[in-house]
């Protein structure tokens, strides 16, 4: 870690503040850039404009045009240059304006960034954190809403981080930027302003591979496993079911790779019944891996088949249809009831 000269580093902040997830991300980028002058942020419209959602607001003013760089409109080279920047000793934090446009960079992310350390047998690491917003519910045009985590989860060498709370957005982003390996840091559009919470102002690191138990009692009969914005819906579903006396645990995976198999196993053993919720299409979504993992680790504790709540096997639809497509509280509640009803 390189010593730095900027002010806010000198005065280490204490306490906490209520922030939206978006504010937490912006706050964390400021702190990490101040902490380590090797951190470089770049992408489309991240500089002068502070990002189309203001996630990078104020960074260029504070850290200058050499460390916060507006790039040409070309995702493959945004991802591809990160490889070279890393080899030059920098810590690249590129933004892909929307995850759907990471498709243009797929060959660099899946074929290059994820393998730099492997191909070079450790000569070059890739401490790269790719930030990208995604997800539905906010009436965006095509490809802006798509949940693509499963298409990356099968690629060895990538860590996949999907925070569901403002505090985790900070703690996981800070961990990602300090991680020696490539991280896909996926930010739920719907959560940017809707998800709020206390965020520690000082050093706050959340380790990868440790799921978060959002709600639990000693006598939960069902566990809902979710990640990113679906955790918020699961929480609401659990509240609603609690009123009927149905005790539901909610587990937030936080990181898909690495996956917290232990906590999943324990939850299944304790609850016996499981609902997995994902916004992505059903077929081969990450929920399938969660189910396969439960099959491996806790098969004999299952009292009923695991129930999947997913987007349907259709591309994310246009505005008039999206509320019918994207999983909602009512579908989750229904799935929990079915699971309890089952056998």
């Amino acid at each position: 870690m390189t010593a730095t000269t900027t002010q806010d580093h000198a005065a280490a902040p204490v306490g906490s503040r209520v922030m939206t997830m978006l504010e937490a991300i912006n706050h964390t980028l400021h702190q990490e850039m101040a902490r380590d002058d090797r951190v470089i942020v770049f992408g489309e419209d991240v500089g002068a404009n502070g990002g189309v959602f203001r996630a990078t607001e104020g960074l260029q003013q504070e850290f200058g045009v050499d460390r916060v760089v507006d790039t040409p409109l070309a995702e493959a080279v945004i991802a591809g240059t990160a490889v070279g920047l890393a080899a030059a000793g920098l810590i690249p934090v590129p933004e892909i304006q929307f995850l759907g446009f990471s498709y243009q960079a797929f060959h660099q992310i899946a074929g290059q960034i994820s393998r730099l350390r492997y191909r070079t047998r450790g000569r070059f690491g890739a401490p790269i954190t790719i930030r990208a917003p995604f997800g539905g519910g906010v009436r965006t045009p095509e490809l802006h809403s798509d949940s693509l985590e499963a298409q990356y989860a099968n690629i060895p060498g990538l860590k996949i981080v999907m925070p569901a709370s403002a505090a985790d957005a900070k703690g996981l982003l800070a961990t990602a930027i300090r991680d020696p390996d490539p991280v896909l840091f996926l930010e739920p559009l719907r959560g940017y302003r809707m998800i709020k919470g206390e965020v520690p102002l000082g050093e706050h690191l959340v380790p990868f591979g440790k799921a978060r138990t959002v709600t639990s009692t000693d006598h939960d009969t069902v566990v809902i496993i979710a990640w990113s914005f679906m955790v918020e819906l699961a929480r609401r579903a659990a509240e609603q079911l609690a009123e009927e006396g149905i005790r539901v645990r909610v587990l937030d995976l936080r990181t898909l790779v690495p996956l917290d198999t232990e906590t999943i196993k324990a939850a299944v053993e304790e609850c016996g019944r499981v609902v997995v919720v994902q916004e992505a299409p059903e077929t081969n979504g990450f929920a399938s891996e969660v189910i396969a993992t439960i099959n491996d680790e806790a098969f004999y504790s299952l009292e009923a088949p695991v129930n999947r709540v997913s987007g349907y096997d259709a591309p994310y639809p246009v505005g008039k249809l999206e509320d019918n497509y994207v999983p909602d509280v009512q579908r989750i509640v229904r799935a929990v009831r079915q699971t309890i009803g089952a056998a």
């Binding site: 189309v52 507006d70 409109l73 070309a74 965006t140």
Partner: protein, 344 residues
């Protein structure tokens, strides 16, 4: 004056006064259409959309140089308010599109215009493939594709133009240089002398025209089209305009657009300039303005009413994923309806 039916589909060899009046009428109506859709978003009736402001002359000039019965247009997303020459469905479906209706993506036969493209520059390979196919099937006509200055930084633009050169495909690639890609100025997009220069990478003709002059755009497009249909292959036309409005309804250009620069561009607003020219020539009156505006308002009013009245099936997202649903999708659709009953 009806701007669509008056003209034969065959593009004119040179421009009459009537053609000039048609051009201005198009320019006026496309801006009105665009402003109306913009306001619909502000009223919460339409989704995010990108105003045409500044591209009106280009769209009128390009349209007039094409034959809607043989030629195709692949837009980016800003252009669909200015292609009425290709038939009323273009605007009607664009309105549906901005309303978030799935049919907005379906511009029906025989209209030769594609719906908006969101994934930037991906439409250029599509256009080249279509032109290649037309050549392979010995069909007449050509393909015109629009992309923005920012979009030229994408590999798809380059790969497609390079391939078009090798194939000698009848395609016209129109680079709409409006100075900006959201907040990124062209100076940060490329160091090429200009965007027409990029044609050297492909060994195809490239030219730069003033996008505030519909006649200049018409002539450049007509030249490129003659080359294309004569089998002489693709061309690139850089049309220099200026984005007079925000990037989209979601954008705040005051954060990054220099005020003087914008003011200067508004001085050169194509509609004002061309109107003055036609008035001077004595072929345009205030009354024509009023008529053009009234026609456009009425046209748009009808489109919006029809669009907002158009029903949509709640499970329409299952349609057209494949020609037929897979068994799994059938099961999902049944689950969808079961949920709906629960909910109600």
């Amino acid at each position: 004056m009806n701007s669509v039916l008056d003209l034969p589909s065959e593009p004119p060899s040179e421009l009459s006064d009537e053609h000039r009046r048609w051009l201005l009428t198009q320019m006026i109506s496309s801006r009105i259409f665009s402003q109306r859709v913009f306001n619909l978003q502000r009223q919460g009736r339409a989704g995010t959309n990108a105003p045409v402001d500044g591209s009106e002359a280009m769209l009128a000039g390009c349209s007039l140089a094409l034959d809607p019965t043989t030629d195709w247009v692949l837009p980016q997303y800003r252009e669909l308010v200015g292609l009425e020459r290709f038939g009323p469905d273009v605007l009607d479906r664009y309105v549906l599109y901005t309303l978030g209706h799935p049919d907005g993506g379906n511009i029906p036969e025989p209209t030769r215009v594609w719906p908006p493209q969101i994934s930037l520059a991906t439409q250029v390979p599509h256009a080249v493939g279509l032109a290649w196919g037309m050549k392979q099937r010995k069909e007449p006509g050509c393909v015109l594709v629009f992309l923005g200055d920012g979009s030229t930084s994408e590999g798809d633009f380059y790969e497609a133009c390079n391939f078009a050169g090798v194939l000698e495909a009848p395609v016209i690639v129109v680079i709409v240089n409006n100075g900006w890609a959201i907040s990124t100025p062209i100076s940060q997009q490329t160091r090429a002398k200009n965007f027409a220069e990029k044609s050297h990478a492909f060994g195809i003709p490239g030219t730069t025209v003033d996008g505030t002059d519909p006649v200049a755009v018409f002539e450049a497009t007509a030249d490129a089209r003659s080359r294309a249909i004569a089998g002489a292959g693709p061309s690139i036309i850089e049309v220099v305009t200026y984005r007079l409005g925000p990037h989209t309804t979601a954008d705040d250009p005051s954060r990054y657009v220099p005020t003087e620069e914008l003011a200067a561009a508004k001085e050169r607003d194509a509609i004002t300039v061309f109107r003055a020219e036609l008035t001077k020539r004595g072929i345009w009156t205030d009354e024509d303005d009023a008529t053009a505006a009234a026609t456009a308002d009425a046209r748009m009013e009808a489109a919006v009413q029809a669009g907002e009245a158009r029903p949509v099936e709640p499970d329409a997202f299952f349609d057209h994923v494949f020609a037929e649903l897979t068994p799994r999708m059938e099961r999902q659709r049944a689950q969808f309806w079961a949920n709906q009953e629960d909910a109600s």
